[in-house]
C-alpha cells in the first residue's frame, strides 16, 4: 500500500513537472553536427518532492534534501583566484562518493565570474573555476566520463549589484546533476 502511494505520487510529480516545463523555443531545433550526449531526465530526481522518511545519504533523493551535504552545490572563489579552498573539501568528498555510488548520474559543473571586464575573457576565467572543481573531484576518484565542466562567464549572475559583496557571490562554481541541466 505504502509503495503504491509512493508510486502514484511519483507519477503525479512527473506529470506535473512535464506540464510545468517550458515549451521548447523554436531555436532549440538546431541540427547539431556534434552534439553532447543529451542527458535524459532521471525520473529519480522527482522523488525529492515526495516525502522520504528515511534519509539515505547516497540516494538520488539526498541531492535535494537539506539535511544532506549533497544539497549544497556551490563553491565560492576569491577574487582573481581559481583554486578550490580547503573549506570545500568535505563537500566535494560527499559529491564524489555520491557519483561513485550512482554511476549512471552525471555532473555538470558551471563556472561563473563577476561582471567586470570582457565577457569572453570572463567566460574563460569562469571555465578555470569549473575546471578546478572538476580536477578536485577527479583527484577524489570521479571518472572524466561522469563530469563536464563548462562556463557561464558573467552571463548568469545570482547577484546584480555592482558591489564587492555581490561580485563575491558571482565568483562561483555550481554543480548540477542529471535531470537538472
Amino acid at each position: 500500500m505504502r509503495t503504491h502511494l509512493l508510486f502514484s505520487s511519483l507519477a503525479l510529480t512527473l506529470i506535473l513537472s512535464a506540464c510545468g516545463s517550458q515549451p521548447p523555443a523554436p531555436e532549440q531545433n538546431a541540427a547539431g553536427v556534434e552534439s553532447r550526449n543529451p542527458s535524459s531526465v532521471d525520473a529519480g530526481t522527482s522523488t525529492t518532492t515526495s516525502p522520504v522518511d528515511r534519509f539515505d545519504p547516497l540516494s538520488v533523493a539526498a541531492l535535494k534534501d537539506p539535511r544532506s551535504p549533497l544539497s549544497k552545490r556551490s563553491v565560492y572563489f576569491d577574487y582573481d583566484s581559481y583554486s578550490v579552498k580547503d573549506e570545500y573539501q568535505s563537500l566535494l568528498v560527499a559529491h564524489s562518493k555520491f557519483l561513485a555510488a550512482n554511476a549512471s548520474m552525471k555532473i555538470l559543473i558551471q563556472g561563473n565570474a563577476d561582471e567586470r571586464g570582457s565577457r569572453e575573457y570572463n567566460l574563460a576565467l569562469a571555465q578555470k573555476r569549473s575546471d578546478a572543481i572538476k580536477k578536485s573531484l577527479s583527484l577524489l576518484g570521479v571518472p572524466e566520463s561522469q563530469m563536464e565542466s563548462v562556463s557561464l562567464g558573467e552571463e548568469k549572475p545570482t547577484c546584480t549589484e555592482a558591489t564587492e559583496e555581490c561580485w563575491a557571490q558571482n565568483r562561483r562554481g555550481d554543480m548540477l546533476y542529471s535531470g537538472e541541466f
Binding site: A25, E27, R36, G117, Q127, K128, G153, E155
Partner: protein
C-alpha cells in the same frame, strides 16, 4: 512580428575638417515620403565628416543649381534629385551631385525600389555622396547586430547602421553573446547558453535557419570568421583550458591552433587573413598577442598596463581597437600597429566589445550609462561620438556588418 524597440541615436562632437555640403529636397519627394532627404542628411551629419548647409529648397536632377548663391553660402557640393512612382508600382529615385566651385556634375545615380525600400535607398544615396566626396566607401547602408536584454529575455537584433528598422533574428530565455558577421553579411555566428553551457551557432539570416558550429564537451565560445567565410576561429575547453581552434563553418574539422597552459580567447583574424589576434594570460596578466593563422609562434602586441583585451584589427590592418583597463576603468583604445602608439578614445569606464565600421572610420562598442547597457560609436580619431540606446532595456554585444555589395 513583435514591435521592436528602436535604437535612439545622439551625436556629439564633429570632425576636424568638415566638408560644407548642401542636400536639397528631391523633386517629387513630398508626395511620396519625407523620409528620403531627411535620412540622407542625418546619415551625412552623423559621420561628422560634413557641415550641412540648410534651406536650399527643392532641386531636381535635371535642373541647374544656383551655383553663385551656393558658393556665397559656402557649399562645396550640392546634391539634388527626384523620386517618382513608376507604372509598375515601384519607385525610381535619381541622385545628382554637383561640385559648386567647378560647376560640374560629380555623380549621377538611379535607384529603382519599392516603397518599403525608400529608407535603404536614402542610405545608398548617402553612401554614394560620401564615397564621391571622401574617396572612401560609405557605411550608411550597412547593418549592425546587437543583443537586447530585457527581463528574462535575450534578443539578437539586426538594425540599419543608424539604429532604425530593428528586427529580431533570435529570441531566447538564456544569454546570447559574441555575435559576429560572416564576411558576405548573410550569416551571424554567436554563442548561446540555451543548453546550460556555451555553444557556437551559425545562423543564416535570410532563412532564419541555423546549425551548430561548435558543441564539444566543455565550453564553446568566441567565434571569429576567417576572411574567406569558410572557417571560424573558436575557443574550446574540450582539451582543458580555453584554447584556440579552427573549425569549418559547417562545424567539421576542428583543429587546435594554439597551445598554452593558460587562457587563449577572443580570436580575431586580420583583414588579410594572415594573423589571428587574441587575448591570453600566458604572461601573467591578460594581454593581446597574435599568431600566424596557419599556426606558429605567438607574438605579444600589448605591453602597457595589466589588462588589455578584445583585440579588433582595423579593416586596413594598420590599427587595432581593444579594451584597456586603467585606474579601474575599462576603456576603448586604439593602437597604431607599426609604431605601437596608443590612444584612449572614450571617457567612459565600462567599455566592451568594439567593432569597426567596414570603412574603418567609426568604432561601435558597448558601454554603460546610468547602470544601463547602451551602444556607442566613436570615430577612429576620437572626435565624433554617438550613443544608441533602447528605452528600458540593456543593449550590448554590438557587431558592425560588412559593406553591402
Amino acid at each position: 512580428m513583435p514591435a521592436v524597440a528602436q535604437l535612439r541615436v545622439e551625436i556629439t562632437g564633429a570632425g576636424a575638417n568638415r566638408l560644407p555640403v548642401a542636400i536639397a529636397d528631391f523633386a517629387g519627394e513630398r508626395t511620396i515620403s519625407q523620409a528620403l532627404t531627411s535620412v540622407i542628411r542625418a546619415d551625412l551629419d552623423r559621420s561628422g565628416m560634413f557641415h550641412l548647409i540648410d534651406g536650399v529648397g527643392v532641386l531636381a536632377d535635371n535642373t541647374n543649381p544656383a551655383f553663385a548663391d551656393l558658393k556665397q553660402r559656402g557649399a562645396d557640393a550640392i546634391a539634388g534629385g527626384s523620386t517618382a512612382r513608376l507604372a509598375n508600382g515601384r519607385y525610381e529615385t535619381r541622385l545628382r551631385l554637383w561640385d559648386v566651385p567647378k560647376q560640374n556634375t560629380l555623380d549621377m545615380q538611379n535607384y529603382v525600389h519599392t516603397s518599403s525600400q525608400l529608407r535603404m535607398t536614402a542610405h545608398r544615396i548617402a553612401d554614394a555622396i560620401y564615397e564621391n566626396l571622401t574617396g572612401e566607401p560609405g557605411i550608411f547602408s550597412t547593418r549592425i547586430a546587437y543583443v537586447v536584454k530585457s527581463t528574462g529575455r535575450y534578443e539578437l537584433q539586426i538594425a540599419d547602421a543608424d539604429g532604425s528598422n530593428a528586427q529580431p533574428a533570435l529570441a531566447s530565455r538564456e544569454p546570447i553573446i559574441s555575435p559576429t558577421w560572416s564576411p558576405d553579411g548573410n550569416k551571424l555566428a554567436y554563442v548561446s547558453f540555451e543548453a546550460k553551457k556555451p555553444i557556437v551557432y551559425v545562423h543564416d539570416l535570410a532563412t532564419a535557419k541555423r546549425h551548430v558550429a561548435a558543441n564539444f564537451k566543455g565550453s564553446n565560445s568566441a567565434p571569429a570568421w576567417a576572411p574567406d567565410g569558410n572557417r571560424l576561429a573558436v575557443v574550446l575547453s574540450k582539451e582543458g583550458g580555453s584554447q584556440l581552434f579552427i573549425v569549418n563553418a559547417n562545424g567539421s574539422g576542428a583543429t587546435r591552433l594554439s597551445k598554452s597552459s593558460g587562457i587563449d580567447t577572443e580570436p580575431r583574424f586580420s583583414a588579410d587573413g594572415q594573423f589571428i589576434y587574441f587575448t591570453s594570460d600566458r604572461g601573467g596578466s591578460p594581454q593581446i598577442y597574435r599568431i600566424p593563422a596557419s599556426g606558429g609562434n605567438a607574438e605579444r602586441v600589448t605591453f602597457e598596463g595589466s589588462y588589455n583585451v578584445t583585440p579588433r584589427p582595423a579593416p586596413d590592418g594598420k590599427t587595432m581597437a581593444y579594451i584597456t583597463r586603467s585606474n579601474g576603468r575599462f576603456q576603448l583604445a586604439l593602437m597604431d600597429l607599426a609604431t605601437k602608439q596608443t590612444q584612449i578614445l572614450t571617457d567612459s569606464s565600462k567599455d566592451e566589445s568594439p567593432s569597426f565600421a567596414p570603412n574603418g572610420r567609426m568604432i561601435l562598442y558597448a558601454t554603460e550609462v546610468g547602470g544601463r547597457g547602451v551602444l556607442a560609436a566613436v570615430s577612429s580619431d576620437g572626435r565624433v561620438k554617438q550613443k544608441l540606446s533602447v528605452q528600458a532595456a540593456d543593449v550590448r554585444e554590438p557587431a558592425w556588418g560588412p559593406l553591402v555589395k
